[in-house]
Every structure is written in structure tokens, then in C-alpha cells.
């Protein structure tokens, strides 16, 4: 699969690195005990530490430290026993301290990697440079008043994990897969709620283009994207913009950009021109963070089964394809549902692929139409498992099963009840099917003649008519066999 982008003159390679900001799922902030609850009254969760009143001192939240370590373990990364908090200095209305407490030279987590899976079954590793802990800033509202900006400091001081990737990403699609993978790992670990709409997970995208084999080009950074769709749009727009400039003989100016979600375009940020000089230095209010190896070892043991492990299990034990397995495991609640279906009956292990198809096609579309999360599915995993078994045992056909599934969704009843009540049990009695076939052949004598004179395609017509007569209940295989025998006898 080639990722090259065609310009008017040349082919170009996009080079992308992502900085993902993931909010730690904690009750209180990184250095103060105010609440992190989303959607509270403006400025109601701002302690004197968060408001940077003189004399206030930060005290670190040990839980946030543990969550950062767990996430590092989940990213297959080194955990650093020694890390340091630094001040990143800049002025902005939503940053009362005049600096953000972050980690610069000595982050809590070092190099790691995650793997992303493509539709064709191949996968690719994306290297992680580091993960560090830092404070979030407040929220500014710019569009409420022509001359004022309104500031809410509730978010100020909330713990963020910044996850920085190497520039290993080569397309918008890969960027989407990468952020989905990080999100899924965070949600399995339960260290971040992964809610992109509420801003719990957002990304800055560093992007440049080059002709294959050349050195990296000058990069631009697109700030603060909070949906996978926007990330992909922004990358595609920005890559084209850079290619156009370069092909016309221009040069790319290193810039910080904003993405306008309405117009789908990027534009340079105006206000932080002077902000690139952050003058990092160790925060004198905070001693270095030293972590005992025993704490790390204990956290390693607490790590739950992660998406890649589940994926391996699905591929090796249930014979699923790499892609099917990655679709299932991307969302923990989907994977949990699938596990419950499979575990509800030992015989279903051999039918895993059929179970996957029912979940990802029929069940997903029913859930989507009704805007229901899979965790609250009206069809329980056990009921779905029993339905698949009924198909396997030829009690109902796959076609009838679709109607049964809709009934199950609406009534929350088990499949057996619906099948009995509606008389949907598949017809496997050969005598009955023979009678139906006889009738159909009797009613369509002309067609039978045509068939016998070589129009083989008409077999489908007879199957359809017979099926219709049986109200869809005839076992398709038996029906086919009987039809063929009866027709050959007429010859």
C-alpha cells in the first residue's frame, strides 16, 4: 500500500508526529484537591492553588502518578524511577500561574511503542518518544463578546498525560488508527475516559512533507484537535497546502496552526508568536519525583488484559483474522460483549467468525439506529449466543435469524420464545419440502421446459419460489438438493 500523495509535479510523502493530551481519570487535580468533574458551574472548582494565589504550594496527587506509570506500561515503555517537574513559562489569560508545571528533561515515562492494524491484515509499529505529566490550562471563550474573552479556570490544574510519538506516521489514515489505538489502550487501562467530545483526549499534529528518500521538510503544528475526523481532515488539507507551496518553488514557514472545523482549513495562530521561548527550569516548589521499583512492579501486576493480548487470543484461539480481531478489540465494551457471547457456550468457540459478523453488522446497525451503547444492548450476549447456536443447528436459517434478531432487540426476549411464538422454525422435513417443490414445478411448467433445454439460471427462480411458499422457512441446502434431484428426474 503506497501512502504517497500526488502533487501536480511530484509524488510526496507526508511525515506526521502526534502529541496526544490525555486527561488522567482522577477525582482531584494534579497539584490541588479541587474536583475534576466536567460541566460544573464556571470557576466553582478552583482552589487557591489553581488560581495561583501568592504563597500557595503544589502537592502532587499520588494517584495521577500511578495512572501515568500504568499508561507507560500499557505503551510498552520504560518507566523512569527519577523524573522532574519543570516550569514552562508563557503568558495567557487562562494560565494564572504564568507557567505550566510540566516535565521537560526528565519525563516519568520514556520510549515505548504501539502497533496499528490495517484492513489488509498488516500492521505497523509507531514509536513513542515519551509520556510526561503536566497541568491543563483553563478554558477561554472568545466568541461571547466583541471585546472580552471569558475565562473559566475549572480545568486549570487538571492532570494531563502528554504522549509524544516519533514522526513515524505517514498518512491521515495511519494517524486515525494511531489515536484510536492509544485511546483504546487508555480505556482498557481505565487511566483516561477517552471522551474526545469533552476534551479528555485531544491531539496536536506535527506535519511536514518530503519527496521520498529526502530529509524531513519544515513542519507545522496544528493545535488542539478533538476528533479523529478533524485530525484526518486537517492532515489532508495541510499536506496539500504544503505541497502546493513547495511545487510552486516556495518554502514552508514553521508555524503553529489552528484548524477551522467549519471551513476545513488551517490558519496560523496569531497570539502565541512570542511563546516559543518557554524558558523551562525545574520547579523550585517541587522535589524530584522518585519512584520505588517495588511500586512499579506492583503496578505491572495490576495491568488488565490489553487490546493486543485479546487480539492475539482471538486470532490464535478463535481463528479470527487480524483485522476482525482488531475491530473487536478497539472498543473494550465491544470486546467484552464478544467475550461474553463466546463464553456463554463452549460450542461457540468454533463459530467465532459467525458471532463477529452478527455483532459487527446486524447488532451494530440496530444499536446505531437506536443510539444505544453496546454495554446497554437490549440483546444480551447470552441471547445472541443462543441465536447463533440455533443457526448452527439448522433450527433457523440465517435469513430468518435477521428478523428474529430485530424481535429480540425490541422485546428483549430470548430467540427460542420468538421462534416458537411466530412459528419460524426452519423446515427440515424432506417430505414437506418435496411437496412444496412439486407444487412449484407444477405451477411453472414453462419454466421447467426452458430449464431443461439449457437455461440453468432458472434454478435460482425455482429456489426463490419454493422459499416463498415455505415463508422463508425451508432449509436452503435441503431445498436445493431436492430441487436438483426432481429436475434431473424430469429430464
Amino acid at each position: 500500500m503506497s501512502n504517497l500523495l500526488k502533487g501536480n509535479k511530484y509524488e510526496w510523502e507526508i511525515v506526521i508526529g502526534l502529541e496526544i493530551h490525555a486527561q488522567v481519570k482522577s477525582n482531584s487535580k494534579l497539584f490541588s484537591n479541587s474536583s475534576t468533574a466536567f460541566g460544573s458551574k464556571p470557576n466553582s472548582q478552583v482552589s487557591l492553588v489553581d488560581a495561583a494565589m501568592p504563597g500557595m504550594l503544589p502537592v502532587i496527587n499520588s494517584y495521577c502518578v500511578e495512572q501515568a506509570i500504568k499508561t507507560g506500561i500499557g505503551l510498552n515503555a520504560e518507566i523512569n524511577n527519577y523524573s522532574v517537574f519543570d516550569r514552562k513559562n508563557y503568558f495567557y489569560a487562562d494560565l494564572p500561574q504564568g507557567y505550566q508545571i510540566s516535565q521537560y528533561k526528565f519525563p516519568i515515562v520514556g520510549e515505548g511503542k504501539v502497533s496499528i492494524d490495517f484492513k489488509d491484515g498488516s500492521s505497523k509499529d509507531i514509536r513513542i518518544v515519551r509520556l510526561h505529566l503536566e497541568q491543563d490550562a483553563g478554558k477561554s471563550l472568545h466568541d461571547q463578546n466583541p471585546t472580552k474573552t471569558y475565562v473559566d479556570l475549572n480545568r486549570s490544574g487538571v492532570a494531563l498525560m502528554e504522549i509524544v510519538s516519533e514522526p513515524d506516521i505517514r498518512s491521515a489514515e495511519e494517524a486515525g488508527l494511531y489515536i484510536s489505538k492509544i485511546r483504546s489502550i487508555l480505556m482498557y487501562l481505565d487511566t483516561c475516559d477517552g471522551n474526545m467530545q469533552e476534551g479528555s483526549l485531544r491531539a496536536d499534529v506535527n506535519i511536514s512533507v518530503r519527496r521520498p528518500g529526502e530529509e524531513y521538510g519544515t513542519r507545522c503544528e496544528i493545535k488542539n484537535l478533538n476528533s479523529i475526523k478533524f485530525i484526518k481532515q486537517a492532515i489532508n488539507y495541510e499536506a496539500k497546502r504544503q505541497i502546493e507551496i513547495l511545487e510552486e518553488g516556495g518554502i514552508i514557514e514553521q508555524n503553529t496552526l489552528l484548524f477551522n472545523t467549519n471551513s476545513g482549513k488551517t490558519r496560523p495562530m496569531r497570539s502565541k508568536e512570542e511563546a516559543h521561548d518557554y524558558r523551562y527550569f525545574p520547579d523550585p516548589d517541587l522535589l524530584p519525583l522518585e519512584i520505588d521499583q517495588k511500586v512499579i512492579d506492583k503496578l505491572v501486576k495490576s495491568i488488565p488484559e490489553l487490546p493486543d493480548e485479546r487480539k492475539r487470543k482471538y486470532v490464535e484461539e478463535y481463528n479470527l483474522s487480524n483485522y476482525d480481531a482488531s475491530v473487536l478489540t478497539a472498543d473494550k465494551s465491544v470486546s467484552d460483549f464478544f467475550d461474553r457471547v463466546i463464553n456463554s457456550d463452549n460450542l461457540l468457540k468454533d463459530s467465532a467468525k459467525i458471532v463477529v459478523n452478527w455483532i459487527t453488522s446486524e447488532l451494530f446497525s440496530l444499536l446505531k439506529e437506536n443510539n444505544i451503547e453496546i454495554a446497554h444492548s437490549p440483546i444480551s450476549p447470552e441471547h445472541l449466543g443462543r441465536m447463533v447456536k440455533l443457526i448452527k443447528e439448522d433450527i433457523i436459517s440465517g435469513k430468518i435469524a435477521k428478523d428474529v434478531l430485530i424481535e429480540m432487540f425490541e422485546s428483549k426476549a430470548g430467540p427460542e420464545i420468538i421462534i416458537e411464538k411466530k412459528g419460524l422454525r426452519q423446515l427440515t422435513n424432506t417430505n414437506e419440502i418435496e411437496n412444496i417443490v412439486d407444487e412449484v414445478l407444477q405451477e411453472n411448467k414453462k419454466m421447467v421446459e426452458q430449464y431443461l433445454s439449457g437455461k440453468d439460471k432458472l434454478l435460482g427462480f425455482f429456489v426463490g419460489q419454493s422459499m416463498k411458499k415455505s415463508k422463508g422457512k425451508a432449509n436452503p441446502k435441503i431445498l436445493n438438493d431436492i430441487l436438483k434431484i426432481k429436475l434431473s428426474k424430469k429430464n
Partner: protein, 95 residues
């Protein structure tokens, strides 16, 4: 290391301090003499010495993840020269 007025002006700009030319010149003199004074430390050979982050033997104190309901709006907005419906109102920062 010697500073020049450009550096002084850049530092002032980063710190959002406005300086007259005279003030900048005074500060240049002061800061250079401070730097000279600190530079004496370079006379000590520190090649095999780890940087010292902490002179006490204490470690970073940590707290539990417990949130306190503080309902701080009134108190935290008390010093604000301008506010609206619980928000700080500041001169427009254009984005």
C-alpha cells in the same frame, strides 16, 4: 557571559515588563554584575559531581486523590476587576 540591551529587552518582553531605555541600561549593568558574580562558581571543578536538586534528604510529599467540594466561584472571583456570570472577563485574546 555578557548580556546586551537586545537580550534585556527580549527578557522584558517575555516577562511583560515595559522598560524605558534608561531602565534597560541600568538593568544591563546590574544583571551583568550578577552574572559575573555567579560565574565565580565556574572556577570550581564539578566534572564528576551530580547536579544537586535537593539539599534536604526528604522526598516529594504526595497526597491521596480526594476531591473537596469547594464551590469557589465567589471567593476566586473576588479580586477580579471584571466578571460575568461566574467567568473572569479579560481583554479579548484574539485567536
Amino acid at each position: 557571559m555578557k548580556l546586551d540591551t537586545n537580550t534585556i529587552n527580549k527578557i522584558a518582553k517575555l516577562a511583560r515588563i515595559s522598560l524605558s531605555e534608561e531602565e534597560a541600561n541600568d538593568l544591563l549593568k546590574d544583571m551583568n554584575s550578577i552574572l559575573d558574580w555567579v560565574e565565580q562558581l565556574n572556577e570550581v571543578n564539578t566534572e564528576s559531581v551530580e547536579p544537586l536538586a535537593n539539599i534536604s534528604s526528604s522526598t516529594l510529599p504526595q497526597r491521596k486523590d480526594e476531591a473537596k467540594d469547594i464551590n469557589s466561584s465567589d471567593e476566586v472571583l473576588k479580586n477580579s476587576p471584571d466578571k460575568l456570570e461566574g467567568y473572569f472577563a479579560v481583554p479579548k485574546v484574539v485567536e
